[in-house]
C-alpha cells in the first residue's frame, strides 16, 4: 500500500514537452487545448479576415453543402476507424449505390422508394462483404477494402455502361433546399451525424467498436463477438456511404459511375482531423463533422481567394498533417 502513495507520474512525464515555444505560443496553445474545434474556429477567422465574402450566410450554407457528402462518408468511416480498421471503399460504394438507385428507378422503372432501399441495401451489402473478408477471411482491412474499392467502381461502370444515368426527380429534390434556404444535404448531414453520435455513444455496437479498437483481444475475452461486430461495423460504413452517394447524385441530378472517386481519402482525413486515432479506440461524430467542415472551409475559402486548384491540394495536405501533428502533441501533453 505504501507504494501507492509514492505514485510517481514523473516517470513518463519527463518525456518531450509539447512545443510551447516557436510559432505563435498563444495560437498554438489555444489549438492544442481545444483540438479540432479550435482549429476550425481559427480557420474561419482567418478566412473571414482574408475574404469579405466568406462570412455571408449563403456562402456558409455552401460550405455546409460542400462538407455534406464528405461528412456523411466520414461518419461511416469513423465507425471503422474507431474499431481500429480502415475503409478505403466508401467512395466507390457511394458511386455504386447512387448508380443502382438511378438504374433501378430510371432504367428499370421501379418505384423510387424501392430503388432507394435497393441502393442502401447494396451499400450495406458491400460493407458486409468487406467486413466478412476482414473478420472471417482475416484479410487486412486495408486490402479487403482496397479490393472493394475496385469492385464497387467496376460494378458501377458495368451497370451504367460507363455513362451517367438521370436521377429520379423525387430523389433529386434531396439536392434542393427546404423552405427556400436550408439545403437538404446539410439536413441529411446533421441527421446522419446525430445517428452516428447515437451509435457511437449509446448502442451495443458502438461501445463494442471502442472496445475492439482499444484492445481486440481484451474485447474478445470479455465476451464480445468480435467477428460479428466487425460485420456490422463495415456494413454501417457501407450504409452511410450509400446515403452519401445518393445525396451527391441528387445534387448532380444524375448518377455518374465515376462520382465520388477519391472521396474515401477526404473521409479518412476528416475522421483523423477530427481527433480519431488510426490505431483505434478513440473518435467522435462531432470531431468527424468538424474535420469535414475544416476541409470544406479550406476549399471554399481558397476558392474565394482565387487560389488555384493545384495549390489547394497542397494546402489541404498541409492541413491534414498539421491537424494530426497538433493532435499528437495535445495527447502527449495530456498524458
Amino acid at each position: 500500500m505504501s507504494a501507492e502513495v509514492k505514485t510517481g507520474v514523473a516517470a513518463e512525464a519527463v518525456g518531450e514537452a509539447p512545443a510551447r515555444d516557436g510559432f505563435g505560443p498563444w495560437f498554438s496553445r489555444a489549438v492544442l487545448r481545444n483540438g479540432p474545434l479550435g482549429g476550425l474556429i481559427a480557420l474561419v477567422v482567418v478566412m473571414a479576415v482574408l475574404s469579405g465574402d466568406f462570412l455571408n450566410g449563403q456562402n456558409l450554407l455552401n460550405v455546409g453543402v460542400q462538407a455534406s457528402v464528405t461528412a456523411i462518408l466520414a461518419f461511416g468511416v469513423t465507425f471503422v476507424i474507431v474499431s481500429a480498421g480502415i475503409d478505403l471503399s466508401v467512395g466507390s460504394v457511394a458511386g455504386l449505390s447512387a448508380t443502382v438507385v438511378a438504374w433501378a428507378a430510371t432504367a428499370e422503372g421501379l418505384p423510387v422508394v424501392v430503388a432507394v432501399l435497393l441502393g442502401l441495401a447494396v451499400g450495406a451489402a458491400a460493407g458486409l462483404l468487406s467486413g466478412a473478408l476482414v473478420a472471417y477471411g482475416k484479410l487486412p482491412a486495408f486490402i479487403a477494402t482496397l479490393a472493394m474499392l475496385s469492385v464497387g467502381r467496376g460494378l458501377a461502370l458495368v451497370i451504367s455502361g460507363g455513362s451517367p444515368i438521370a436521377f429520379p426527380a423525387s430523389v433529386s429534390n434531396l439536392g434542393d433546399t427546404l423552405g427556400g434556404w436550408l439545403p437538404v444535404p446539410v439536413l441529411v448531414m446533421i441527421v446522419m451525424g446525430l445517428i452516428a453520435a447515437l451509435v457511437l455513444a449509446r448502442t451495443y455496437t458502438g461501445r463494442a467498436m471502442f472496445a475492439i479498437g482499444g484492445n481486440e483481444e481484451a474485447a474478445r475475452l470479455s465476451g464480445i463477438h468480435v467477428k460479428r461486430r466487425k460485420l456490422v461495423i463495415y456494413a454501417l460504413s457501407g450504409l452511410f456511404a450509400a446515403v452519401a452517394g445518393i445525396v451527391l447524385a441528387a445534387r448532380l441530378t444524375s448518377a455518374q459511375p465515376q462520382a465520388a472517386t477519391g472521396y474515401e481519402l477526404d473521409a479518412i482525413a476528416a475522421v483523423v482531423i477530427g481527433g480519431a486515432s488510426l490505431s483505434g479506440g478513440s473518435g467522435k461524430a462531432s470531431g468527424t463533422l468538424i474535420g469535414a467542415l475544416i476541409l470544406a472551409v479550406l476549399r471554399n475559402g481558397l476558392n474565394l481567394l482565387s487560389v488555384s486548384a493545384f495549390w489547394q491540394q497542397v494546402a489541404t495536405g498541409l492541413v491534414i498533417a498539421l491537424a494530426v501533428l497538433l493532435d499528437t502533441l495535445r495527447r502527449r501533453s495530456a498524458r
Partner: protein, 555 residues
C-alpha cells in the same frame, strides 16, 4: 582474451550500479539499488517476482533510464552526447586498470549504447527473426559487406559457423531460426552476443524453459565464458543453480538491494533474504472448513499443437465452490493454454468442460460467461484492459450485452454498477472517467477482476494475478480472493510465484510438459514437492524440444 583469467573473485570490476532508483506510475520499481560485477564472475540476481530484477536489467540494456543514481562501466562511451564517440577499446581485457579505477559513469539510453559498452542481454523472449537464418540473425544489422556493398554471405556464414562452434551448437548457419527449439534459440542468442564482443552478459531466467540436460550444456558454456573474462549477470528462481554456477548473489526485495552474499550461502538464508517476511502474513488465506459442491469439472482435456505434439493432454480436475485451486508448473507447461481452453478462448481437440454438470460448448467465450466463468488473463495490458478507455468502460465491458436493451446501452446503469464495484475494491482513482493506463498495476488488476465481479461470475480463473504489482496491492488481491471464496465462489489460480501458490491455494495442481503431473493438498504442498512434480518429464512422450530438434540437424 588474456589478463584476468584466473583471479575470479578479484577480477577487474566491469560494472557498478550505485543507488539506482526508478519509478513507474504507481510503483517504485527500484529504490536505491547497488550492485557490482567483476570480470570472470557469475553474479546471480535473486528476488521474488516484482522485486525489480527485470527493471534493473532493462536499465542496463538501455530500455529504461534511472530516475536517480549512477551506472558506471569501464571502456566505451555510453553515448554521452547521443551518438557520441564509438568505443575505442574493443580489445576486452586489454586494460590494465585495477579495481574501479577504469570505471566511469555512463548513460545507457538505447540498445546501441549498451552494445557499445559490451553489454548484451538474453531476454526470456528471444530477439530473433523467425524467417531469417541463424547466420542472418547473428549478424542482423551488421552483415559483412563485399566490396560492392552487397551482403557477403560467405563471410557471414563462416563467421556464424565459428561462433556456433564456440557455443557448441551443431546446426548449419543456413538453418531458418523458426526450425529451432527453445534451447537452440537460446544458444543462437548467446552466439549473437559473443559476436558483439560482449564483456557483460545478462541472462534473464535462461534455465526456466530448459530440460535438465540442456541446463547442463548451458552451464558448461557459461563457465567457459566466465573463464574467458566475461562478467555474467544471471537471473534464476532455482536456488540450487546458485551454488552450482554462481560466485556472488545480490538479493533484491521490493525494489531494494537487501544483501550481497557469496553463492555458497545456504538456501534457507537466501529465501529469508528474498522474502523478508513471514509467509503466513503475506498470504492471508482463510481456508474453508469444507469445500462446497463441485462447480467446474474438466475431463480429459487435450489439444494438439501444429506439429502434433500435445499442447496439453488428458487434463482432468475439479474445482468446488469456496475453493482456491492453484496450478503450478514451469512457464510453457501448458497452464495458460488450459485456462484459455476452459474459458472458451481457444478450442480443444478432446475432453469436456462442465459447469454444474452441464457441458460447455468449445471455443465459446459467451457460453463460458453465461455459465458463470470469468478469466483474468496473464497479460493484463495486452489482454485484460482497454488501456486508453475509462475505468467505467473497462469495468462494464463484460456486461455490455447485459446492459443493452433494444440495441441501446443503459449508460446510467453502467455508471452505477462501475461506481459500486470500484468502491468495493477500493480502487484508487480520480474518478470513473480516468483512463486505465494511468492507474498503478495493482489498481489495474483490480479493474480486470472487478469486470468479472460485475458479471456475477462464480468461478474466476486468475492467470498470474499478481505479476508485476507491488506487495501491498498483492495482499489486497489475496484478501479479495478470500472474500470471493467466502461468498461461495471459487478461484482457479495459475501462478509462477511458488510461495503465492502455496500460500493461497487449498489444493495445488502441478503441470509439467502439458500434463497434470500431480495434485497436492495444501498441507503436503511444499516448494520441493511442487518442483519435483513440475520438473517431472512426461513418460514416453515426445517433448516439444525433441520434436523441434528434428529437421534442424541439416549439417
Amino acid at each position: 582474451m588474456t589478463g584476468v583469467k584466473d583471479d575470479v573473485p578479484g577480477g577487474r570490476e566491469l560494472l557498478r550500479v550505485e543507488g539506482v532508483t526508478k519509478s513507474f506510475p504507481g510503483v517504485r520499481a527500484l529504490d536505491g539499488v547497488d550492485m557490482s560485477l567483476r570480470a570472470g564472475e557469475v553474479h546471480v540476481l535473486l528476488g521474488e517476482n516484482g522485486a525489480g530484477k527485470s527493471t534493473l536489467i532493462k536499465m542496463l540494456s538501455g530500455a529504461h533510464r534511472p530516475d536517480a543514481g549512477r551506472i558506471l562501466a569501464d571502456g566505451g562511451h555510453g553515448g554521452h552526447g547521443g551518438h557520441g564517440g564509438r568505443a575505442e577499446a574493443t580489445d576486452h581485457g586489454g586494460h590494465a586498470e585495477d579495481g574501479g579505477a577504469g570505471l566511469r559513469e555512463v548513460h545507457i539510453r538505447s540498445a546501441q549504447d549498451a552494445e557499445r559498452l559490451g553489454i548484451a542481454t538474453i531476454h526470456q523472449e528471444f530477439n530473433l527473426v523467425p524467417g531469417l537464418t541463424v547466420a542472418e540473425n547473428i549478424f542482423l544489422g551488421r552483415q559483412p559487406r563485399t566490396a560492392l556493398g552487397l551482403v557477403d554471405k560467405k563471410a557471414m556464414r563462416a563467421g556464424a559457423a565459428e561462433l556456433l562452434e564456440r557455443v557448441r551448437l551443431d546446426v548449419s548457419p543456413n538453418t531458418p531460426v523458426a526450425e529451432l527449439g527453445i534451447a537452440r534459440l537460446q544458444m543462437v542468442e548467446i552466439a549473437k552476443a559473443l559476436s558483439l564482443n560482449t564483456r557483460i552478459l545478462i541472462m534473464d531466467e535462461p534455465t526456466a524453459v530448459l530440460t535438465s540436460e540442456e541446463v547442463e550444456t548451458l552451464f558448461g558454456l557459461v563457465r567457459e565464458l566466465r573463464e574467458s573474462g566475461v562478467g555474467i549477470i544471471f537471473i534464476t528462481h532455482h536456488l540450487e543453480e546458485i551454488g552450482a554456477l554462481g560466485d556472488r548473489v545480490t538479493v533484491l526485495r521490493d525494489g531494494r538491494s537487501v544483501a550481497e552474499v557469496p553463492a555458497g550461502t545456504d538456501e534457507d538464508e537466501l529465501i529469508r533474504l528474498m522474502v523478508g517476511r513471514d509467509i503466513a502474513e503475506q498470504y492471508p488465506r482463510e481456508r474453508p472448513e469444507e469445500p462446497g459442491a463441485p462447480l467446474l469439472r474438466v475431463r480429459g482435456l487435450t489439444r494438439h499443437g501444429p506439429k502434433g505434439a500435445p499442447v496439453f493432454q488428458d487434463i482432468g480436475f475439479e474445482v468446488r465452490a469456496g475453493e482456491v485451486v492453484g496450478i503450478a508448473g514451469l512457464v510453457g507447461a501448458g497452464r495458460t493454454e488450459v485456462a484459455r481452453a476452459i474459458f472458451g478462448v481457444d478450442a480443444y481437440d478432446a475432453g469436456a468442460v462442465e459447469v454444474d454438470g452441464t457441458e460447455l460448448a468449445r471455443g465459446d467465450v459467451r457460453a463460458a460467461m453465461r455459465a458463470g466463468l470469468g478469466l483474468v488473463p496473464e497479460d493484463r495490458k495486452g489482454q485484460g484492459l482497454l488501456l486508453d478507455a475509462s475505468l467505467q468502460d473497462n469495468l462494464t465491458l463484460a456486461r455490455l450485452h447485459r446492459d443493452t436493451r433494444g440495441g441501446l446501452v443503459d449508460r446510467g446503469a453502467q455508471r452505477r454498477e462501475a461506481a459500486r464495484v470500484a468502491g468495493r475494491l477500493q480502487v484508487r482513482m480520480s474518478g470513473l472517467g480516468q483512463r486505465v493506463r494511468t492507474l498503478s498495476g495493482g489498481n489495474q488488476q483490480k479493474i480486470v477482476i472487478g469486470k468479472w465481479l460485475l458479471t456475477d461470475a462464480r468461478l474466476l480463473i486468475l492467470d498470474e494475478p499478481t505479476r508485476g504489482i507491488d506487495v501491498g496491492a498483492k495482499v489486497e488481491i489475496y484478501q479479495l480472493i478470500n472474500e470471493l471464496t467466502a461468498s461461495g465462489r471459487a478461484v482457479l489460480m495459475i501462478s509462477s510465484d511458488l510461495p503465492e501458490v502455496l500460500g493461497m491455494s487449498d489444493r495445488v495442481l502441478v503441470m509439467s510438459q502439458g500434463r497434470l503431473a500431480g495434485e497436492l493438498p495444501a498441507a503436503e504442498a511444499t516448494q520441493d514437492a511442487v518442483m519435483e512434480l513440475a520438473l517431472q518429464a512426461a513418460p514416453g512422450t515426445t517433448t516439444n524440444d525433441e520434436s523441434a530438434m528434428e529437421g534442424s540437424d541439416v549439417r
